[in-house]
Symmetry: C2
Subunit: 217 residues, 2 copies
DNA sequence: ATATTTTTTTAGCCTCGTCTAAACTTTTAT
DNA sequence: ATAAAAGTTTAGACGAGGCTAAAAAAATAT
């Protein structure tokens, strides 16, 4: 049985490791979890002793098979609860992250299976992120941040990174939600802002916003 | 903000204080929480310092207004989640207690209000226990354990005390669930077992069972 | 190649919640 | 009324998780 803290570290390390091919560093974890490097080092030793991560002093960590499976389980629970909050309790998508951060630690496999069924076995959460199945299998689709694409791109928004409520409220207002079609018209060089078209409306998006919009490629 | 442990102590103390007119004693709490008296004493000091209980060394505790309100809030959450698990996720009533013990500590007032609405503002949980409203008002109805009544009694089961899964499974099997009509036919003196009628069927109930069946009076 | 800066780890301390063992109080029995 | 028993509290310890300050290692600069 994992403690809440262990689950949170594992989830963070897993998230930081996805994409990057290198080991996850102590300071990255500390920054991401808003804690201190010394605290992270302490926890890394514990997680390593329990075989959830492989840890080489000064050179960072990576999750083991065992650790990845635990991390994906926490992520599965988080995303199922977010889906529940939005679909059943009618929360807005910008309000659910903090609550799901608590609910993800509830320990009852049968509860999660029944919740999954109650929700109709959803494959993505309200932000478009894929929900791992009960074996930890996660269905990824080819996607890139809008910032990486060239003018002329047309496609659909697949997901929105970052769970900041302000960003999500804004995206909701302009209609930039998962599933929505979007076209990249042009890129402004000096501030890297993007001119896009959503629902036949032209909108300029700052880089801070557009780097969080993931689209199908 | 209360910790999980503080919430659990407060809930237990409140439950033990209901009915009994005297102060709740250290050993009662320890037994009820399956912990040691020394641990209880430590926590009583903390809860007393925070004004959730009034505590007189060696003579026991009682909850303050403040403490009662917190206890009722935890109980409200527990019973709403139990209702959710049974009504929406189709759990059996004997399976929900442990899961609700975890869910009751989720801290989000708005979540609980939305859950309450989603469930249609229920007034009792699956075991017939009343659900306090968001002001901590609890609707009690006159009820007594079946063991306290005389042969000839006819009425309805209002609630079932104790959350033991074995007991609940048995009660479910014989149809002794809240709302069901029940008649007390006779009382066997030597072992205090009761002959009752439920659904036109005659059943003999041991004292261990019948003391947990609460009926309207 | 050495010195400086950055990153990471260690050492030591803190709070929370738990425990055992020993020391009190209070209650009960003689 | 006093001795024994029962109940409660204190003292001291521990693990989990966090912190600050200092030491050590790695990366970067000169």
């Amino acid at each position: 049985m994992l403690t809440f803290a262990e689950e949170n570290y594992l989830k963070t390390i897993y998230h930081l490791s996805v994409g990057g091919s290198k080991d996850v560093l102590t300071n990255q974890i500390a920054e991401s979890m808003k804690t201190k490097a010394a605290s992270v080092t302490d926890m890394l030793k514990k997680l390593s002793a329990k075989n959830f991560i492989s840890y080489e002093k000064y050179y960072g960590v990576r999750v083991t098979k065992h650790g990845k499976s635990e991390a994906l389980n926490v992520i599965r629970k988080h995303r199922l609860w977010e889906t529940f909050l939005v679909q059943k309790l009618r929360f807005n998508w910008d309000e659910v992250h903090e609550i799901a951060e608590q609910l993800e630690h509830i320990n009852s496999p049968i509860l999660i299976e029944k919740l999954d069924e109650f929700l109709g076995f959803p494959t993505t959460d309200p932000h478009g992120e894929p929900i791992p199945d009960h074996n930890g299998k996660i269905k990824t689709q080819p996607q890139q941040p809008l910032t990486d694409l060239a003018p002329g791109y047309r496609g659909a928004i697949t997901a929105v990174k970052d769970s900041d409520s302000g960003l999500l409220k804004y995206l909701d207002k302009i209609g930039a939600v998962p599933g929505k079609r979007i076209a990249l018209i042009s890129k402004e060089e000096y501030d890297e802002s993007l001119e896009v078209e959503i629902d036949t409306k032209r909108i300029s998006l700052s880089k801070a916003v557009s780097k969080n919009i993931l689209v199908a490629v």
